[in-house]
C-alpha cells in the first residue's frame, strides 16, 4: 500500500513539474514584468485550445511503467497508473482551459512591448516571453487579424490582435508608434456597421472642426466649404460587390462647386474591408494640409484674375 501511495504521489509530482509549474511560472513572469516596467496596457488574446491534449497527459504512463519495471515493484507502477488517472480527471480539464494554455498576454509599456505566448507545458514548449523595444520598431500597420510591427532596419513581426484592433491602435498611438499605412484591411465580419458609422461620425467631426477653422479665410477667398459624408455602391451585373463611404468637402462659390476634396473612409471589396484608421491628430493634420492647399490655389487663381485688372 505504501508503494502504491508513493506511486500516486510520484505521478502527481511529475505532472506538477511538467505541467502545473507552467501556470505558476507564467504568473510569476507576468508579475515580474509588471514590476519592472511601466505597463500602460495589457490584453489577453485568446488563441484557442490545442488538439493533441490527452496524449500529452498520458505520457506519464510509459514513464511509470519503465520505473516500475526498473524497481520490479508492481504496486508502485499501479500507483503511478492511478495517480495519472486522478490527475487527468482532476486537473487536466481545468489546465487545458487555463489562460496560460489558451491565451497570449500582450503588455505594452513605455519602452516596448512584451508577448507571453500560450504554453502547453513547462519544458519543450517553445518560448515563455518575447519582446520588442520601441527603439527597434519603425512603425505598425494592421492587416487581417494581425498587427504588423515593422522593425528597424528590416523585417516585421505579426501579432494577432483578436478582438482588440482599436484598443491596440489606440495604445500604440498614445505611445507615439508611427502608423505606417492609413487603411487597415479587416475581414467582413470584423467591420460591424455600427463601428463604421462611428468612424464616419468621427471623421466628419474632425472635418467640421477643420473647416470651421478656415471659415474666415474661405470667406476672404469668396468660397464656402461644406463637408459631407457620401456613400457609393459598386455593382457588377446587377449584383452588389462592394460599397464605400467617403468624406466629401465641396468648395462652393455661390451655387457652383469649384472643387471637390474627397477622402475614403471605408471601402468593401471581395470580402475585405479597408478602414481608415489614423490617430486623431494625424487626421487633423492631413485635412488641414489639404484644405490649405485648396484655398491657396483658389487665392492664387483670384490673384491671376485680379492682376490684369490692376495692370490696365
Amino acid at each position: 500500500m505504501n508503494a502504491f501511495l508513493t506511486g500516486v504521489l510520484f505521478a502527481g509530482a511529475l505532472w506538477g513539474l511538467l505541467y502545473g509549474t507552467n501556470i505558476l511560472w507564467r504568473l510569476l513572469l507576468e508579475r515580474r514584468h509588471r514590476n519592472r516596467h511601466e505597463v500602460v496596457a495589457e490584453y489577453r488574446v485568446w488563441q484557442g485550445q490545442t488538439e493533441e491534449s490527452w496524449s500529452k497527459g498520458l505520457s506519464i504512463w510509459p514513464l511509470g511503467a519503465v520505473i516500475g519495471l526498473i524497481l520490479g515493484d508492481g504496486a508502485f507502477a499501479w500507483g503511478i497508473f492511478a495517480g495519472t488517472v486522478l490527475v487527468l480527471a482532476g486537473f487536466w480539464p481545468f489546465y487545458k482551459k487555463s489562460k496560460t494554455v489558451c491565451s497570449e498576454t500582450v503588455m505594452f509599456d513605455r519602452d516596448g512591448i512584451a508577448f507571453f505566448p500560450p504554453r502547453q507545458g513547462f519544458v519543450h514548449q517553445g518560448i515563455f516571453k518575447a519582446r520588442i523595444d520601441w527603439q527597434d520598431v519603425y512603425g505598425y500597420s494592421a492587416h487581417k487579424g494581425s498587427i504588423l510591427f515593422a522593425l528597424r532596419p528590416l523585417g516585421h513581426v505579426e501579432q494577432h490582435y483578436g478582438p482588440y484592433r482599436r484598443e491596440f491602435s489606440d495604445v500604440l498611438n498614445r505611445l507615439d508608434v508611427q502608423k505606417l499605412v492609413a487603411f487597415d484591411v479587416v475581414d467582413e465580419a470584423e467591420a460591424r456597421a455600427e463601428d463604421l458609422q462611428l468612424l464616419e461620425r468621427d471623421v466628419f467631426a474632425v472635418a467640421e472642426d477643420v473647416v470651421s477653422g478656415y471659415k474666415t479665410e474661405a470667406a476672404g477667398a469668396g468660397v464656402r466649404l461644406e463637408p459631407k459624408v457620401l456613400y457609393g455602391q459598386e455593382a457588377e451585373e446587377g449584383e452588389l460587390v462592394g460599397g464605400h463611404a467617403y468624406l466629401h468637402i465641396g468648395v462652393w462659390d455661390g451655387e457652383t462647386c469649384l472643387r471637390e476634396l474627397e477622402w475614403m473612409i471605408w471601402e468593401r471589396s471581395d470580402g475585405d474591408v479597408e478602414v481608415l484608421s489614423l490617430p486623431r491628430e494625424r487626421l487633423y493634420e492631413i485635412l488641414d494640409e489639404r484644405l490649405e492647399a485648396v484655398l491657396e490655389e483658389r487665392l492664387g487663381q483670384l490673384g491671376v484674375e485680379a492682376q490684369p485688372a490692376v495692370l490696365q
Binding site: 515563455f128 516571453k129 520588442i132 516585421h156 505606417l180
Partner: protein, 323 residues
C-alpha cells in the same frame, strides 16, 4: 571492493566523456562542416562574392530559458542518488551530458549563420542549421545560373525565379545590398523588375539622395548623346528629379521620387512630350526602390530617353513640325 569502485568511477567518466563527445559531434561540428563546404567550393570554382549572414530577426528578442537543462539535471541528480541500477545510471549520465553540450550550442549565434557564395557557375547556399544535429543537417544547396531566369529582391531576400516560380530564396546582409546587385549584374543574372521591394526602414536616405543626384547626372550625360535628335525636333529638354513630397517626408505613405523628362518647343515653350522614370515609391511599410546598378542604369536611361524622343518625334509629325 576498491577495484569495483575504481571500475565504476572509470565507467562513469567514460559515459560522461562519451556523452560530451557525442554532443560535440552532433552540434559542435556544424561550424566546421560549414567551413569545409565553403572550402570545397573555393577549391573548385571561382568565387565572386561570399558572405556569412546572421539571419536572426533583429529587434525581436526571444528570452531564452534553461528549464529543460535544469529539469533534466534534477532528474539526473535524482537518478545518481537513487541509483536504481548501474546501467540506468550510466545511460542517464551519457544522455544528460550529451544534452548539456547541445544546450551550450543552442545558445550560440552559429545556428543563425547562413553562408552564401556567388560563383561564376552559380549560387551556393549553406543554410542556417537551427538546432539540427550534424546527422540531420540541411545540405548545401546549389543553383546554376543557366537554370535561372532572373532574380528579384524582396526585403533582404534574393529570390531566384524560373518560369515565375521561386527556385531558391536566400538572405543577404544589408550592407551587401550594393555589392550583391553589382556582382549579379556582372555575372549576367537578369533583374526581373526595375525596382526592389524593400522595407521602408531599409531605405538609407542620404544614400538615396546621392543616388538621385548621381542618376540625374547620368541622365544629362545620356541626353548629351541625343543632342542632334533634340535639335532636329526643335525641342529643349527639361530634366530632373521630382518628388511629390518634401525631401524629409520620403518615408511617408504614397511618397514618390522619379526622373522627369519634358521636351519643350524651342519657340513656344509648349510641352511636346513628357515621361517619367520611377526611383522610389513608398507604400507605408514597404517601398519600391529602383535597384539598377551603374551600367544597367545607363542602359535603361538610354532606352527610356530614346523611347521618349521617338514618341516626341511622332507627336511632332502629327503637329506637322517635322516632316
Amino acid at each position: 571492493m576498491t577495484d569495483w569502485t575504481e571500475l565504476w568511477m572509470l565507467m562513469m567518466i567514460g559515459a560522461a566523456g562519451l556523452g560530451v563527445l557525442s554532443g560535440f559531434a552532433g552540434w559542435g561540428s556544424r561550424k566546421w562542416l560549414r567551413m569545409r563546404d565553403k572550402q570545397r567550393v573555393r577549391r573548385t570554382e571561382r568565387v565572386r562574392f561570399a558572405s556569412d549572414v546572421n539571419i536572426r530577426l533583429l529587434g525581436y528578442e526571444v528570452r531564452r530559458n534553461h528549464f529543460n537543462v535544469l529539469v533534466y539535471g534534477a532528474a539526473w541528480l535524482f537518478l545518481l542518488l537513487w541509483h536504481p541500477g548501474d546501467l540506468t545510471v550510466l545511460v542517464g549520465t551519457f544522455l544528460y551530458l550529451g544534452y548539456l553540450v547541445r544546450h551550450v550550442y543552442s545558445i550560440q549565434e552559429e545556428r543563425f549563420i547562413q553562408t552564401m557564395l556567388l560563383t561564376e557557375r552559380g549560387l551556393h547556399v549553406m543554410p542556417a542549421q537551427g538546432m539540427n544535429p550534424a546527422w540531420k543537417r540541411e545540405k548545401p544547396q546549389f543553383l546554376a545560373w543557366r537554370d535561372v531566369d532572373g532574380y528579384r529582391i524582396d526585403g533582404s531576400y534574393l529570390l531566384f525565379y524560373r518560369d515565375e516560380q521561386v527556385l531558391l530564396q536566400v538572405e543577404f546582409g544589408l550592407h551587401d545590398y550594393e555589392q550583391v546587385r553589382q556582382v549579379l549584374c556582372e555575372l549576367g543574372v537578369a533583374r526581373l523588375e526595375l525596382t526592389d521591394r524593400i522595407w521602408v526602414a531599409q531605405l538609407d536616405e542620404p544614400v538615396f539622395y546621392r543616388m538621385e543626384d548621381h542618376v540625374c547626372e547620368l541622365g544629362w550625360d545620356v541626353l548629351e548623346l541625343f543632342r542632334e535628335e533634340l535639335e532636329r525636333l526643335n525641342v529643349r529638354p527639361e530634366f530632373g528629379v521630382m518628388r511629390n513630397v518634401q525631401g524629409d517626408r520620403l518615408l511617408e505613405e504614397h511618397s514618390r521620387s522619379w526622373l522627369q523628362l519634358n521636351l519643350l518647343d524651342l519657340e513656344t515653350e509648349q510641352r511636346v512630350i513628357h515621361s517619367s522614370f520611377p526611383l522610389w515609391h513608398c507604400y507605408g511599410n514597404v517601398g519600391y526602390l529602383n535597384g539598377l546598378v551603374e551600367q544597367e542604369m545607363v542602359d535603361h536611361l538610354q532606352r527610356w530617353i530614346k523611347g521618349t524622343l521617338q514618341e516626341g518625334e511622332r507627336e511632332r509629325e502629327r503637329e506637322g513640325v517635322v516632316s
